[in-house]
């Protein structure tokens, strides 16, 4: 695998639903994060100030319950950051930068909160 010409042909479908109800369904390359999928497709409900370093909690999403069990478990740093989100933390809260898109997640639905900062 070349670092510079990495071809990511496999994708999974991810649907982002904003607080206002706007829906964007996009194809996200396998391996990209849910945060990157939003940023690269110009979806506004995700800010990603720190660029995916798990430092800012501005890529907060509510993950559709059907997919929660398919995600890798929350690590300590994400758990701590989730306590600082601008919108209410719920049981299905995650940081988009900590969810790598996989084949199993094809069809994933996430909702963005009313505010990120």
């Amino acid at each position: 695998m070349s670092l510079f010409g990495k071809k990511q042909t496999d994708t999974a479908s991810v649907t982002y639903i904003s607080y206002a109800g706007d829906t964007h369904q996009v194809s996200v390359p396998i391996g990209d994060s849910v945060m990157e999928g939003a940023i690269k497709n110009g979806i506004d409900g995700i800010v990603a100030e720190c660029g995916g370093a798990c430092q800012c909690a501005t890529c907060h999403v509510y993950v559709d319950e059907a997919f929660l069990g398919l995600l890798k478990p929350i690590q300590e740093d994400e758990d701590e950051m989730l306590n600082t989100t601008a919108s209410e933390r719920r049981p299905n809260s995650r940081l988009g930068c900590q969810i790598p898109v996989t084949k199993e997640l094809d069809g994933l639905i996430v909702r963005t909160p009313p505010k990120q900062q």
Binding site: I39, G42, E49, G51, A53, C54, Q55
Partner: protein, 414 residues
């Protein structure tokens, strides 16, 4: 209201954030974002971290796709240089590498011009194989050279140098770090942490030379071959990576008649003495409520947090909600599998208290200045880091005893 709009000079993290925040704030006037690099604005932290470590591709560093600038009516001018500023006429002249020059009128002008690398002032520094890291193009070049190198000497034991050393070791290269001070990261962390990082790098096979300077870089056929140190020792090197700090880009502001010192001088609202001109990010020397008052309380901070929060502060000011800048500074660095997170500014601290044991690779250091918590450095303890940000921001009184006692819930302190 007039609508000449906002001209932002510099399209790095700070400049980008001003443009994005202005639109988020509902600003309707023209917004021009001017960058001297030929491409979309991108993040710099991953260049020495995720990208250099081979975990992230270079395209993924773009802050936003082109469509974002179009849909948010941001006039993104890339590959352009500002050649002059007319403060009386409120206009900026641009020269472009690719198109004709332009003049832009402004109601508000923002300097987000960043900094450039400090160059190594020794003989041989111009040799091929002596590399610096600032732009994505330099990062790509550096990574390719790293893959083909055998003996890599890193000059400078700060964040960038150590991140590069870790990336080079991960590629299995022979790596030596040269730091002129007697300890690593001397500008920003305490000796306890310097020692922790010396041990970490040593355990990973990085050789470290402290308290010695580079006196010369020797070469063969125009290419670096050896780094010569002030103690006379000679380190074989086919690649020398220099990370010895940066110099703020003050020249444009100075030439426009604005005050400069260690950066473009601004007040607590991040305004220069010209009330329609702001300076933010790496280039701005500003009063910071979390800095050491004994050294004047004025600082210039090189970080994503500072760039983003200062940008938001002045975007709010431009739409009529001017406030003093008072965001808690925070930083992070990734080296090997260790994440160091820093909150606050420790400069001038008198006491440092450990919470947890460095041997456990999970500990925090609490820095007290005049009896008050000034900064918290956390190694693999994200909870302490976030508690630190809160405590410092709120000015909550906490004692050294509370800091040292792991049974005290820092988040519950008020």
């Amino acid at each position: 209201m007039t609508s000449d709009g906002v001209v932002i000079v510099g399209a790095g993290q700070a400049g980008f954030q001003v443009a994005a925040s202005l639109r988020m704030e509902g600003y309707e006037g023209p917004v021009a974002l001017i960058g001297d690099e030929p491409k979309l604005p991108y993040q710099r932290p991953p260049l020495s971290k995720g990208f250099m470590a081979g975990k992230q591709d270079i395209e993924s560093t773009a802050l936003r796709p082109l469509a974002f600038y179009q849909s948010h009516r941001i006039d993104l001018v890339t590959g352009a240089r500002v050649t002059g500023i007319d403060r009386v006429g409120r206009s900026v002249s641009l020269a472009s590498d690719v198109g004709p020059g332009r003049n832009l009128q402004y109601d508000a002008l923002v300097f987000a011009v960043g900094a450039r690398n400090r160059m190594l002032p020794v003989k041989g520094a111009e040799l091929d194989g002596v590399c610096y890291l600032r732009t994505d193009a330099e990062a790509v070049d550096m990574r390719q050279r790293m893959e083909h190198a055998r003996d890599i000497v890193v000059i400078g034991g700060g964040f960038i140098g150590l991140e590069l050393a870790a990336a080079a070791r991960a590629l299995g290269k022979s790596v030596r770090v040269i730091e002129v001070q007697p300890r690593l990261m001397p500008r920003v962390v305490s000796p306890v942490l310097s020692d922790f990082y010396r041990d970490l790098h040593s355990s990973q096979g990085v050789r470290i030379s402290l308290g010695v300077a580079v006196s010369e870089i020797a070469g063969r056929q125009g290419k670096v071959s050896e780094v010569v140190l002030s103690d006379g020792s000679v380190c074989p090197a086919d690649l020398a990576l220099v990370g010895i700090g940066v110099v703020p880009n003050i020249e444009l502001a100075r030439d426009a008649g604005l005050s400069v010192s260690n950066g473009i001088v601004v007040d607590q609202r991040l305004r220069t003495e010209d009330e329609s001109i702001y300076a933010i990010g790496d280039c701005a020397e500003h009063p910071n409520p979390f800095a050491n008052p004994l050294s004047g309380g004025r600082v210039r901070i090189e970080s994503v947090q500072n760039a983003v929060d200062q940008a938001k502060c002045i975007a709010a000011a431009i739409v009529g909600r001017s406030e003093n800048y008072r965001a808690v500074p925070w930083f992070w660095t990734d080296q090997f599998d260790i994440k160091l997170q820093m909150a606050g500014l420790s400069g001038g601290y008198g006491q440092v208290i450990a919470r947890g044991e460095p041997e456990s690779r999970k500990f925090s250091l609490f820095y007290f200045r005049d009896g008050r918590l000034a900064a918290v450095d956390s190694v693999n303890r994200p909870g302490d880091h976030l508690a630190g940000r809160k405590l410092i921001g709120a000015g909550t009184q906490i004692t050294p005893e509370q800091a040292a006692d792991p049974s005290v819930d820092l988040k519950a302190l008020r």
